[in-house]
């Protein structure tokens, strides 16, 4: 498939190239919407399409107005600040609980492993609207609805499956004899954990944490129900903006978020390679 053999018939050649064109079109479908909004966000006017000036590459047709609005308008700054306050706390909780549990789960004799795993993974499987409904009902009963703590707990619960999955995957390749060696040299379990095990599983923990972070940072359904106006996050503000009066500032926000996701994607990819190299699974 990677290249055309010299003896290929005309039909095979036609198919080979048309298949590539089809794939190219699908890649275009995948990536074009994300790419298109980037130039649109520099539109000097309040339009959602390319103005004639933009197509003519007239510098006057481009501007940073929408970015200026994002960085000065309290309607956007307050949600940004809320997101920045909520996501790291939720991530911290998911990573702390999740890593501990993943280490427990990777021991060789865990009773009810299947059932425990199913419960821990369940926040990822249950549709968000159902989690949101349940949390809204239950958190209103116990007075957590509409509080910062409620949103953090809800987001931590949603992020935990990602931490569990990535950290257990890392632990699969972990060589148990290393902890035994450390113990035989006189280290207590805590020292062994922090000096031997932790550095080795750190890539998995960090990428699990990044997943948890992006889950919380992107999440809108649960916060919409569990939170109140005081916890309005960036995605929530975008959701309102898209539903009610759509303002071009959304495109500027979207562009910034795309840049953040590219940064996160790169980090996760680098960590994955490092982790695989450490475990000797691939030359990377």
């Amino acid at each position: 498939m990677s290249s055309l053999p010299p003896y290929a018939s005309t039909g095979q050649k036609v198919w080979f190239y048309s298949f590539r064109v089809i794939c190219g079109l699908i890649f275009f479908f995948l990536i074009a919407p994300i790419i298109t909004i980037i130039p649109l966000s520099f539109n000097a006017e309040d339009f959602f399409t390319f103005t004639p000036g933009m197509l003519a590459l007239d510098p006057d047709a481009y501007g940073l107005d929408h970015y200026r609005d994002f960085f000065t308008n309290p309607d956007w700054q307050q949600p940004l600040w809320n997101s920045v306050r909520i996501a790291p706390m939720a991530t911290l909780l998911s990573v702390a609980f999740g890593t501990l549990a993943a280490i427990g789960l990777s021991q060789s004799h865990v009773p009810f492993k299947g059932a425990i795993m199913a419960i821990l993974i369940s926040p990822m499987i249950v549709p968000l609207i159902i989690s949101a409904a349940g949390m809204y009902f239950f958190y209103s009963r116990i007075g957590l609805q509409g509080t910062y703590l409620g949103v953090v707990l809800a987001h931590a619960a949603l992020g935990i499956p990602f931490v569990i999955i990535t950290v257990t995957a890392t632990l699969v390749g972990f060589d148990k004899s290393l902890t035994r060696a450390s113990a035989s040299l006189g280290a207590d379990p805590v020292t062994t954990f922090f000096k031997v095990q932790m550095p080795l599983i750190l890539p998995g923990v960090i990428s699990g944490g990044l997943f948890a972070f992006i889950t919380s940072f992107d999440e809108v359904v649960v916060v919409l129900f569990v939170g109140s106006a005081g916890q309005k996050t960036l995605p929530w503000q975008m959701f309102i903006g898209l539903r009610e009066q759509i303002s071009p500032t959304i495109l500027a926000v979207a562009t910034i978020l795309v840049v953040i996701s590219i940064a996160l994607l790169t980090t996760v990819e680098l960590l994955r390679r490092r982790s695989e190299r450490l475990r000797g699974m691939s030359p990377g």
Binding site: G104, G134, F137, A156
Partner: protein
């Protein structure tokens, strides 16, 4: 097998410390298990509280219906005696309803039960709201006047506390005792007044009249005996007529039937509503045509999820095939094109589609510019099913490509080459050899996309308009707008059931442990 341990002493094998090896091993294992469980316990507890209990709460709310019985206890109890359900019940039920509504109105609970019953029969809410104001103005004051005319002591709070402190009298006058307790509770808790300084409400005298006129009084209390002798000559009113004066609908048997049908503490009513059925006097029947929306909505959700799943297979298969068969270096670079949308915020992708698909948006502009579409006939691509399907296919495509890709990577290329060397055409080699081996990937991807699609909320809400919405949008509507939480919970429980069954199938095919990220 020969026993080659014949020369060792008989009995269990011993460990170094002299214990049997088996016991020793068990002990070590138990310690290991406990350690593992201790590591897991904090998270398990955390998930139970923050996630599992909320889900359980939702399931509970989908059948819970205590509000009617709690707010209208006397009415419900009196309805046990109601025999002919084609006619409005008798005086007893309305007497109970009068006191229940009076109490509920004082505690401002009558509107809540009104809105609850309004889900089942339109119009009840306003009836209850009106009755909350009306019951205080019923003509029951004639009893108050007649009792106090008979003996002024009846107006004294002290007289009442004296009578009600006597358990024999309480037993002889059960309705009166309950009504008096209710009045004291209303005065203290709802109005924050001192009962001793307030006038005793009419409904207490009304109950006293009913007790004395109904079963008389044969005790030794002089005040009560005098009253019991006098009630025969009292003017009386029909409380049922009072309700009729308030609104004729109160005598509508259907209304009373609705209260009766929804009086149990647990009801299948919400689930029945969620499948377009209803609980009525004749048992379970179909909803009237114009209220049948949920089966259609579930059907549409399933249908659109299937379409989205199908388009994801169509678009994802070639990409996964290409990625799996290109050299690692190239495919890693192309993989970024798949992972970037995967990592990009859902809201970003939805806003991109919202912008692109608008009538004045980029796609319509291009179509007009190319000449495929006239400027005055721009395509309606958003706020309908098309919009939802396009945007969600784009959003869920990576979830199809990634499992397909990981399965395709494991298919040895030599099989296809072997097929070709045996004379198979390209198509036969693909269809008979390669494709069957990629089916597990298709299965995994399809179920994953389908599970994600049927629970989607944000994208259908933003680009779906009226015709492209899913069941989840209806759930959200019932939680935040119509406040019919029970119905929202029932719809959610059904959706949860569907997802769990699909997930169980997914676990069977792929296994939870094989969930890969990125």
């Amino acid at each position: 097998m020969t026993d080659n341990t014949a020369d060792t002493p008989a009995g269990p094998v011993l460990a170094a410390d002299g214990r049997p090896l088996k016991a020793s091993l068990n002990r070590a294992l138990r310690a290991q298990k406990i350690r593992a469980l201790l590591l897991i316990a904090p998270l398990l507890l955390f998930i139970l509280i923050t996630f599992i209990l909320p889900i359980a709460d939702m399931l509970f709310r989908s059948v819970e219906n205590q509000i009617v019985r709690e707010t209208l206890p006397r009415t419900v109890a009196a309805m046990e005696e109601w025999e002919n359900h084609d006619e409005a019940p008798g005086e007893d039920v309305y007497a109970g309803l009068y006191i229940d509504l009076f109490e509920a109105a004082e505690f401002r609970r009558h509107t809540r039960v009104g809105s609850r019953l309004n889900y089942e029969m339109t119009g009840i809410s306003s009836l209850f709201r009106q009755a909350g104001r009306g019951v205080g103005r019923f003509d029951t004051d004639i009893y108050t006047d007649q009792f106090t005319d008979l003996d002024a002591a009846w107006a004294d709070y002290a007289t009442w506390t004296g009578l009600m402190g006597d358990s024999a009298i309480r037993a002889a006058l059960p309705e009166t005792a309950a009504a008096f307790d209710t009045w004291v509770r209303i005065t203290i808790e709802a109005n924050e007044d001192d009962p001793a300084e307030e006038n005793i409400e009419d409904f207490v005298f009304f109950s006293l009249y009913r007790d004395l006129a109904g079963s008389g009084y044969s005790g030794s209390n002089a005040l009560l005996s005098a009253a019991a002798d006098a009630v025969g000559g009292f003017d009386s009113i029909s409380i049922r007529d009072q309700f009729e004066d308030l609104d004729e609908d109160w005598l509508n048997p259907e209304l009373m039937e609705t209260i009766w049908v929804y009086s149990p503490s647990y009801t299948p009513g919400y689930f029945l509503t969620a499948i377009d059925m209803q609980l009525s006097a004749d048992g379970i029947t179909a909803q009237p045509e114009d209220r049948q929306i949920y089966v259609t909505l579930f059907g549409r959700t399933l249908f659109m999820s299937l379409v989205i799943m199908g388009s994801c297979v169509l678009l994802g298969y070639p990409i996964a095939f290409l990625l799996a068969n290109l050299p690692m270096r190239v495919s890693n670079i192309l993989m970024i094109l798949v992972l970037l949308p995967f990592w990009t915020s859902l809201l970003v992708r939805t806003s991109a589609w919202k912008v692109l698909l608008q009538q004045q948006g980029v796609i319509n502009d291009i179509l007009v510019w190319v000449g495929l579409v006239a400027d005055d006939a721009r395509l309606q691509l958003i706020n309908n099913q098309t919009g939802t399907i396009i945007a969600m296919t784009h959003i869920l495509l990576p979830f199809m490509i990634l499992p397909l890709y990981s399965v395709m990577q494991t298919i040895p290329p030599s099989y296809v080459r072997a097929a070709k060397s045996l004379g198979a055409t390209d198509w036969t080699a693909f269809w008979r050899v390669y494709f069957p081996q990629s089916i597990p990937g298709i299965g995994a991807g399809c179920i994953l996309v389908f599970i994600l699609a049927i629970g989607y909320y944000i994208t259908p809400e933003l680009v779906g308009g009226r015709t492209g919405t899913f069941i989840s949008n209806r759930i959200a509507y019932h939680i935040s707008s119509s406040l019919n939480w029970g119905l929202a919970a029932a719809l959610g429980s059904i959706l949860l059931g569907v997802v769990l069954i699909l997930y169980w199938i997914y676990d069977r095919i792929v296994g939870i442990d094989n969930v890969k990220l990125g």
